[in-house]
Symmetry: C2
Subunit: 364 residues, 2 copies
């Protein structure tokens, strides 16, 4: 892997190293090797999270961060450079401009490429910079590399502001929504399916859970002029013992995405109300972050993107920095609507635009 040449080529190289959550070791090794070549960086590692810091005695310090992991593959494991007018691999539609197609291209190896190139290129930035390349962002927050870093080495997270290179169309996306996952469980009575009238089918009871999900109308909330948009979805469903048995247990896993003005506690209460009558077990709950753009520290960055700021729908680690008192925004290449889709890609133009913005901001 050679991060010194070109951001498009580096994005493709990063996509081609598989790094589904929990399996980031090989990619973390490759990133660490690149960073170790730079005399101006102090490199440390915790699990599959790699941290590289400048120590130039600057008046302020900024964090530039991105996660190394991706969701599971969907036939899109290999990076492909698609030129404008050529068909996309997953559905044959024609590319409107040059782009990199493949798992993680959008979420967020394009952003990792920009951060890695900044780290190895900018020997003399205007701020001290802490670059963080971390593991397990796409799974339980307990496994998240930043969670582990905050618990084990909080001193490495000290900073005045943070920029996360999560996909945001190379513009600033401010704040982020909260995310809660819960298991909605049904009970029944096990019996042989040949005499089903003697049992009570727990899977059939899931019908009411799915009815409520289908009837649910998510709200939209405007904060500081930015419209946040909630969502409530099943992300998993399971049940069954054998092909001739009525099961006595079944479960739907739901994911509730809630506006930053709703607290984690309020979100949990809301789920208990929506699924009243069922067992509701919250398995993961991370509150959002308010937009927080009023701080001076981010003013220069806002100017560099011509004041274009949008609300962030996905939960990102911006919330974690906000909770630590560090103003943070998302600014990364890629359309966030493509994240986790089979057709995930990032345009070459956004890679270059984001790189230019970040380099200009960091170089000063």
């Amino acid at each position: 892997m050679n991060p010194t040449r070109d951001v498009v080529q580096l994005t493709m190289e990063l996509v081609d190293v598989a790094s589904v959550s929990g399996d980031e070791r090989i990619l973390a090794d490759a990133v660490e090797i690149c960073l170790q070549t730079c005399a101006w960086l102090e490199v440390s590692r915790l699990g599959n999270t790699v941290i590289a810091r400048t120590n130039l005695g600057r008046a302020s310090r900024v964090i530039v961060a991105g996660h190394l992991d991706t969701v599971p593959a969907a036939g899109n494991e290999s990076a492909t450079l698609i030129q404008a007018g050529q068909p996309l691999p997953h559905d044959g539609s024609l590319a409107e401009e040059d782009l990199v197609f493949g798992l993680g291209a959008c979420d967020m190896k394009g952003g990792v490429a920009v951060a890695l190139r900044a780290a190895v290129s900018l020997e003399n930035p205007q701020f001290d910079v802490t670059y963080i390349f971390y593991e397990c962002e796409e799974v339980d927050s307990a496994r998240n590399g930043l969670t582990i870093l905050a618990a084990r080495h909080p001193e490495l997270l000290a900073a005045d502001v943070a920029v996360l290179l999560e996909p945001s169309n190379a513009q600033i996306e401010a704040g982020c929504q909260g995310t809660l996952r819960a298991h909605i469980r049904t009970k029944g009575v096990r019996s042989h399916s040949a005499r089903s009238w003697l049992g009570d089918n727990a899977i059939h009871h899931l019908g009411e859970v799915l009815r409520r999900l289908n009837d649910y109308e998510p709200v939209r909330v405007v904060i500081d002029g930015l419209e946040y948009r909630e969502g409530l979805n099943a992300v998993g469903i399971s049940g069954g013992i054998a092909g001739n048995v009525l099961p006595d247990e079944a479960m739907v896993e739901v994911n509730y995405r809630y506006a930053p003005s709703t607290s984690a506690e309020q979100a949990a209460t809301h789920m208990a109300e929506v699924f009243e009558g069922f067992e509701v077990v919250v398995v993961d709950n991370a509150g959002g972050a308010l937009p927080g753009l009023t701080q001076d520290a981010l003013a220069e960055l806002v100017r560099l993107v011509d004041g274009q700021v949008a609300p962030k729908f996905g939960w990102t680690d911006v919330a974690r920095f906000a909770a630590m008192g560090i103003p943070a925004v998302n600014l990364g290449p890629g359309d966030p609507g493509l994240a986790h889709s089979r057709g995930e890609f990032v345009t070459c133009a956004q890679l270059r635009k984001c790189e230019a913005t970040m380099f200009t901001w960091l170089a000063g």
Copy 2:
């Protein structure tokens, strides 16, 4: 294992040897060893199916058969002898009479105990007898020991009548219902759950499948004075990719139990109608068997149970014998309504009654 002492004790010994479908080897070994001690039996084995035949030159030959496997355990792996008035382990209710509690006690290690005791006790039966102890009855019919035996050694299945010792309250249960399993699949569009409006949730589409299952009204069909009772149930449900992804595929596995007057083809057509608009893939379909009690060959057995005959709801290998032209009935200890339940048991009285009926019939 000592089959010569007592049917209750033997049932407990059989329960204590785990034999979930696919893992019958240890139990088949034990059964084979018992049979090999009897000079009047010609023993053969195919996989984990054990066959023992007398060759006495009798005018007719009967098959006495039972399956060795059980459904998966549910905290009821060990056999327990419960005396009348004592509490049952799974729910504390009081036993009305002496019984053996445990996985497979009802379906059908009690029946296997009766057959095994007959095999090792009756040196000189009035018919030639083919005892069959077979594997994988509780799973796909392609894995069923009788399927494999019919394909590889059909000569071992030649007989005038057959008795299956499936649980039937130690009375004759005639005919059997058909059973069909199908996967009902939904499709959607994968997306990040933070922007769910960009996707289409395949799990949510299962709501309509479950609605149809909940609304379905199974019919009852009277044949030869016996009332058969159909059923349509989900026996499995699955879907989900990751905790923050709307899945593009989800599935319900259904099990349709249909009256013996309905053909396997008609059953498949009915499922396509019930789940019209969804992808329906039939994965297992075994037609039923009409009661077939008009044959003289079974008259003596019917007389021995005082003419008490009930319809069989569960699919049993009676259908397989019926399809081969061999009149067959179920006659075994245990309440079929307890089969596959956590509270599975067989009463000592039924074990002894069934043993008496079978010994009287076979001995002549």
